[in-house]
């Protein structure tokens, strides 16, 4: 009987109003301070209460229990000068876990401290925008400040905030990186540019966007093809067109698999076979941003001309493939020696395979 509890609470508000004015507003964010006063302020209505609901009896009883537990403060509870007396007692239990108010307590005190630390951190670490003009300054400033969060013993493998350095980008940075990746075949310096601040935001959300966009456009292609076929065959068709939800699953496998698994494989190969020190985040970063050109291409590929779709997919695959190969050329050839060329070719072949899979599965119009 929540409602009755509420009503009881509100019915008691005239009694409580002096308390509330002095204490409730003063210490409102500090729930534990408020708590004893609240429970004792709670007591008066119940003995005199005409509330007939049995659910309130344990309710009242428990608050009585609380009131009796804090009788010393309850006796002087109506006087405002008790409030400072209560406040210091709170500061001790504040550090330890509180009672049922833990949730409120947690949200009031803990989260802002996260936010503060996060904001300080993000404003301290130089933006990626600054990498080009002042790379020496970045080398001096960014790496130590990024590692400063790392060396904090609080930041463990399972602490979410220890991964913030992989999401240390602004909107502008992500857009610039996407642009760089599209024209990356002409200017293959993406690897160097992202060495200090490889982000995983771009790879994850570019892949997720592609999962959605290819599912949408693939279904749209099948819809258009359905209409072409059936408009030609008979005027009115009984069988309706249905979208294919499986396309979402397959495209998720294709894109997350391509970025995640192949990136991981390449990184593992570089690290343990060739003893390179390239970071996994950077491999994923390059693989993820390499896919960004497919987002606009997916929309273009709904045109019902087979030759245009082939050409678009081919251009996108060549551009992003070159972006990948040219950016990984240095890291692979530096460490792999004679085995570098086969590995490098393998990456290119896999990328061509991705382009073919996109063309042949997602943008394949049904036979017309």
């Amino acid at each position: 009987m929540d409602n009755q509890g509420w009503k009881a609470l509100h019915n008691s508000s005239p009694n409580r109003s002096p308390t509330k004015g002095s204490q409730g507003e003063g210490g409102y964010d500090v729930q534990s301070t408020y708590f004893p006063a609240q429970s004792t302020g709670y007591v008066p209505p119940h003995p005199s209460s005409s509330d007939p609901f049995p659910q309130d009896s344990p309710f009242a009883g428990t608050s009585m229990g609380y009131g009796s537990s804090s009788v010393p403060s309850a006796s002087g509870q109506q006087q405002p000068e008790v409030v400072p007396a209560v406040m210091p007692t709170h500061s001790a239990p504040h550090a330890g876990p509180a009672t049922g108010d833990t949730v409120l307590h947690f949200q009031e005190s803990n989260i802002p401290s996260y936010g503060v630390s996060g904001k300080v951190g993000t404003s301290d670490v130089p933006r990626v925008q600054s990498y080009a003009p002042t790379s020496s300054l970045l080398g001096a400033g960014a790496v130590p400040s990024a590692n400063a969060g790392d060396s904090n013993p609080k930041f463990s493998l399972f602490n979410l905030k220890s991964y913030r350095k992989y999401f240390n980008v602004d909107t502008q940075d992500v857009l610039i990186r996407m642009k760089d990746s599209v024209v990356g075949a002409l200017k293959p310096d993406f690897f160097e540019k992202t060495t200090d601040n490889a982000d995983l935001y771009g790879p994850f959300w570019i892949a997720t966007t592609l999962v959605f966009v290819t599912a949408v456009t693939g279904n749209y292609a099948s819809y258009v093809s359905y209409h072409h076929k059936h408009a030609a065959a008979t005027g009115s068709e009984t069988q309706a067109w249905y979208y294919d939800i499986d396309k979402v699953g397959y495209s998720a496998i294709v894109f997350y698999g391509y970025v995640g698994v192949i990136g991981l494989t390449l990184w593992a190969m570089l690290k343990w076979w060739f003893k390179s020190d390239v970071a996994l985040a950077q491999v994923w970063c390059i693989y993820g941003y390499a896919l960004s050109i497919y987002i606009p291409i997916s929309f273009v590929c709904v045109v019902p001309y087979e030759a245009v779709r082939w050409a678009m997919i081919a251009v996108a695959t060549v551009l992003s493939g070159l972006f990948l190969l040219l950016n990984f050329k240095g890291p692979i050839f530096d460490v792999a020696g004679a085995k570098a060329f086969p590995v490098w070719l393998g990456l290119g072949a896999l990328h061509v395979g991705l382009g073919l899979a996109l063309k042949l599965y997602f943008f394949q119009y049904w036979s017309s």
Binding site: S13, T62, S69, T99, G100, D101, L160, F167
Partner: protein, 236 residues
């Protein structure tokens, strides 16, 4: 819960009244806590009770109440939070006030409704259902983690709660598109639902990160809602 304003509330200013109204339930819960865990006599509470129970206004002594009372209380809470979260017409502070009292029943309900409505009439209803339910549930987690990783200042379950409640306009859109096959009507309903869901949720999510990253935090949210709107639009 707008219907529960105290009769004496007119004595207070509206702010105080609202504050009291939303802050009340957690305190009430705390005062009922001794039913389960009697605290020590002094105020040095060392028990870590209340972990994860954001459902602050639920009285804990519910063992002997009829099931209908339990369901009704949850429905009341879902309705109250829905109004506060999804319809923040007056001011947005009511959202954060309501989210301090978060629950996950509402998000689960709205996700289930959305999944059921979108899977009706599909040739593969179970695949659609599992896709929608999984995407909304995992999406809420991923979106929240995304905001945290971008340096945002956000409460995990508050964000989950808000994202779940903001599916409500998409629920309405999905119900309407399940009833009509008129594409114009579907487009209108889906676009209105999208706009409403974004209007209710984007300021909360976007406001929790620094302005330079607002688009990064908001974009995945819009992607999720657009994906659901797309499914509602093209359902058979």
């Amino acid at each position: 819960m707008a219907g529960m304003k105290p009769a004496s509330g007119s004595a207070f200013s509206e702010d105080v009244e609202r504050l009291f109204q939303h802050e009340g339930p957690p305190v009430a819960s705390a005062s009922t806590l001794p039913t389960y865990a009697p605290p020590p006599a002094n105020s040095d509470f060392s028990s870590g009770g209340g972990g994860g129970s954001g459902m602050g206004n639920a009285p804990l002594n519910t063992l002997d109440e009829p099931i209908w009372e339990t369901v009704k209380r949850d429905l009341h809470r879902i309705g109250g939070n829905l109004i506060l979260v999804v319809f923040p017409f007056k001011n947005r502070d009511q959202q954060s006030a309501a989210l301090r009292n978060w629950d996950l029943w509402g998000p689960m309900t709205f996700t289930l409704v959305l999944a059921i409505c979108l899977s009706i009439g599909s040739p593969k209803p179970s695949a659609v259902f599992s896709f929608v339910f999984g995407t909304c549930a995992a999406g809420a987690v991923v979106l929240t983690v995304n905001v945290v990783l971008l340096g945002g200042n956000i409460g995990f379950f508050q964000s989950m709660c808000l994202l779940g409640y903001c599916l409500f306009p998409m629920d309405v859109a999905a119900i309407v598109t399940a009833l009509t096959t008129n594409m114009i009507a579907r487009w209108i309903v889906v676009l209105v639902g999208l706009a409403w869901a974004s209007w209710a949720s984007v300021p909360f999510i976007g406001g929790s990160v620094s302005p330079a990253r607002r688009a990064l935090a908001v974009y995945p949210l819009l992607l999720l809602y657009v994906a659901m709107g797309w499914l509602a639009l093209i359902k058979g």
